[in-house]
Amino acid sequence: MADTLTIHIDGQALTAQPGESVLQVAKRNHIAIPTLCHDERLDAAGCCRACLVEIDGQRRLQPSCNWPVSQDLRVSTRSPRIERHRATLLGLYVADHRLDQDGLPVHTTQGNELRTWAETTDFKRLLAIDSPRHPRGVDANPYVAYDPDLCILCARCTRYCDEIEAVSAIQLAWRGAETSIATAGGRGLLDTTCELCGGCVDVCPTGAMHAKQAPRFEKPGAVQKVRSTCNFCGVGCQLDLNVQDGKIIQVTAPPPGETVNDGNLCVKGRFAYGFVHHEDRLRQPQIRGADGELHDATWDEALHYAAKGLLGVRDRHGPNALGFVSSSRCTNEENYLVQKLARAVFQTNNVHQCAAT
């Protein structure tokens, strides 16, 4: 391990590892620096200019997200010059954003970082700008949508698509005020290399990239988040089930750095939750009648019928004439109970799960 370094932020001596950025050291020490284009998982882009700080020996303000630490580096994160820069920059962003009746960037369900910043920082009111940013054409994909009016061109989505999902389905396109996020040839995502991972939605700081099916402009707290584990593959991604009125309206990833999936999900975990509330779900116990059809029954009837049937087989043919197929889709506690049922109740070790790996 290379030696640690000492840097000074706002006069405070702090230890840092070679290769870290000023922003990383500041964050670790709870020194607040605003950011918009930064995401721990991505290479620093230094493009939003929100995180600019003063660095001794540098004439201009410099992006802390992209400034590597060096021994005895001296940084200030607060100064009248930085305040002025932030007030103007934030003013520019706000002037080119969709605002609510209070003149602040609108709330979005996934959280609007621009609004959060504007709520806590004085900024210059500038005349509204209406950039002619290119909208997305017709896109039949059922999950991901783009709203150019909320886009701040931080390129988190395109960098995520490139660096993490590594399919480069979306990119910055056009120039100047027309700059937008686009696919090659303006195709719908289904006709690109896109794998519908939804990472672009997840990293978007404002909600410009958003989930098609979910309500878009809910205030924080209107949607309850329940942390759980994905029920598809064995990666065990942690996810937040976003619940409103007893229904899952969206699945989001917990913030990066906290869980095994580091803020990432795939198309199944993030979007394929439609089965939960599907009309085909079984709702009522059923018993097969003499007519060969399944008929609704009460729980009491069904459980006793099931018990009688299984006990009957055991009594006629012995315990090892029974097989118990447990489920690698169900919980540990449930699998424990299935094997307990087989072993303690029916006296057989004939119990297995779909154990292919």
Partner: protein, 531 residues
């Protein structure tokens, strides 16, 4: 996995064999891509040119079922060129003599003749792997779904052990487990040889502990594994069946034979969330809650126990599986304790399971996931196994000789069929088939075929063909694809329609130890319709 998921991004070399990671474990693939972005080297061995092979430095495109030949040849090079970790072998392995004598016969040139992988490629990978410290091996069902699946795993374990890649961060041997709780279900005893807590049925001490806990005797003879239960259904020795959350007539091989057996059973209980294909054979159907409607834990592929939490109520009268199971046991006259929540069930199991004893729902709620072994409430869990020394003291090197797949191709069935998964669907498909996106991507079964085989047969991309094996036949469209070589066809195992289920074709011979069936190799022919 011997190592944990977050270690992947720091790997310097990744050898992925028999794992279509970007489709089957997409978020682990993202970690691999991050390692690549950092400059890590990637080698992929797979009979198909999956996407990962395009990101790889080398694609070792071996013939299906020849894995032992490929892996032993890698070991051959490492031993012959003296690249193995002599100190580690000396101190921490046994049986090196027999092992090295065996691999001496597996030269890269002979391997090339059988696997189709150029000898030079084998040498390059062997050298790179042996000389890189943070070098990890990843595998999935491409390794295990064979009648020699256990041999494949032993052969890989040999590579890891002789190069001392065990107990090292960002290295190790890493099976990527397929389903959300396939690891956990086995850990807690849904296994014919294992009691809860990764303890053997044959272990009298463990048996005595659970007998005391349950107030019931536990049979001492080993039970039947899934493959054997299926065979028991077919030969009539199994007469009654309880199935929870598994659509066996979709996911098990040789589905038509299984269905005939199921029809003859005296009693079948199916506990499910959807009217599955298997529910057609049920005498009783018990409607269950899905993961979002109940509490509990899943254990993921890196042995991480994590919480599952109820977010919404189950539909209609459906109930969480744990409640149903407890009530079913009671209906059978067994005094199941009154569990208030699944936390009580976990506690009952963990107090008799030393490896899991330190984990409780309360701790998981406070700290997030914990990786077992975790023997005490103070223990922080174990991300990397075998640090310092192998857990059992020494690693036994298995001298595994190649055995061919059980069903060779013939004049009548000239093509090898391999099965697998696509990104957008999940297993039987009961869940993903009911969402729009997966269906927009894939709404019917298909058979992937090389351009050359399609041309020989005279079929065009998208044309409907009949795939025939000794066990069944299905009609599906052809996907002409550069991913497969001449002689190999590939189909997904998801259920798109009852009549086109891929597992009507597959062979139900299983690995002698695990019972896992040879889904990756059976012989078929493809016929033009109306020809």
């Amino acid at each position: 996995m011997t190592n944990s998921v977050p270690e992947i991004r720091d790997c310097d070399l990744m050898f992925v064999i028999g794992s279509n990671t970007t489709e089957a474990h997409p978020v682990i693939a993202m970690e691999m891509k991050r390692a690549l972005h950092r400059g890590a080297r990637l080698f992929v061995a797979d009979p198909r040119a999956i996407w990962l092979t395009q990101m790889a430095e080398q694609h070792l495109q071996h013939r299906p079922g020849t894995d032992v030949w490929l892996i032993n040849a890698l070991a051959h090079v490492i031993v012959a060129e003296g690249l193995y970790d002599k100190a580690y072998v000396e101190q921490y392995t046994e049986n090196f003599e027999e092992f090295s004598a065996l691999v001496a016969d597996y030269s890269p040139e002979r391997s090339e003749a059988i696997t189709g992988v150029p000898a030079e490629q084998i040498r390059q990978l062997a050298r790179a792997y042996a000389t890189t410290k943070k070098a990890a091996i990843f595998y999935t069902l491409g390794i295990t779904e064979h009648t020699h699946g256990t041999d494949n795993v032993f052969a890989l374990a040999n590579l890891v052990a002789i190069t001392g890649h065990l107990g090292v961060r960002s290295a190790g041997l890493n099976p990527l487990r397929g389903q959300n709780n396939v690891q956990g279900a086995g850990d807690v005893g849904a296994h014919p040889d294992n009691l809860p807590g990764v303890q053997k049925v044959a272990d009298a001490g463990a048996r005595a502990r659970f007998e005391a806990e349950w107030g019931a005797a536990i049979p001492t003879e080993r039970g039947l594994n899934l493959n054997e239960i299926m065979h028991g259904i077919e030969d009539g020795s199994i007469r009654g069946l309880f199935v929870m959350g598994e659509d066996i007539v979709v996911s098990e091989p040789n589905a038509a034979r299984l269905e005939r057996g199921l029809n003859e059973l005296e009693f079948v209980v199916v506990q499910e969330i959807f009217p599955s294909e298997t529910a057609r054979f049920a005498h009783v159907v018990l409607p269950a809650a899905c993961f979002a409607e109940k509490d509990g834990t899943f254990t993921n592929t890196d042995r991480r126990v994590q919480r599952v939490r109820r977010a919404v109520p189950p539909p209609g009268q459906a109930r969480p599986d744990w409640e149903i199971l407890a009530d079913l046991a009671r209906a059978c006259g067994y005094p199941m304790p009154a569990y208030a929540t699944p936390a009580d069930i976990w506690a009952e199991m963990a107090r008799q399971s030393p490896k899991l004893a330190g984990i409780s729902h309360e701790r998981l709620d406070r700290d997030g996931g914990l990786l077992w072994p975790c023997p005490s409430p103070e223990h922080g869990g174990t991300p990397t196994l075998h640090v310092g020394a192998p857990m059992r003291g020494k690693v036994l090197l298995h001298a595994v000789a190649y055995r061919p797949p059980v069903e060779p191709t013939s004049a009548e069935y000239p093509l090898v069929l391999s099965t697998g998964r696509v990104l957008y669907h999940y297993n039987a498909g009961n869940q993903t088939r009911r969402d729009r996106g997966p269906n927009m991507k894939f709404s019917s079964n298909f058979v992937e075929m090389s351009r050359r085989d399609a041309k020989d047969l005279g079929v065009a991309d998208g044309e409907l063909v009949r795939v025939v094996s000794r066990r069944g036949q299905v009609e599906v469209p052809v996907l002409v694809s550069p991913r497969v070589r001449h002689g190999l066809v590939w189909m997904p195992m998801h259920n798109f329609a009852t009549a086109t289920r891929t597992n009507l074709l597959t062979i139900d011979k299983g690995d002698p130890i695990t019972g896992t069936a040879e889904y990756k190799v059976c012989a078929v022919r493809v016929e033009r319709l109306g020809a």
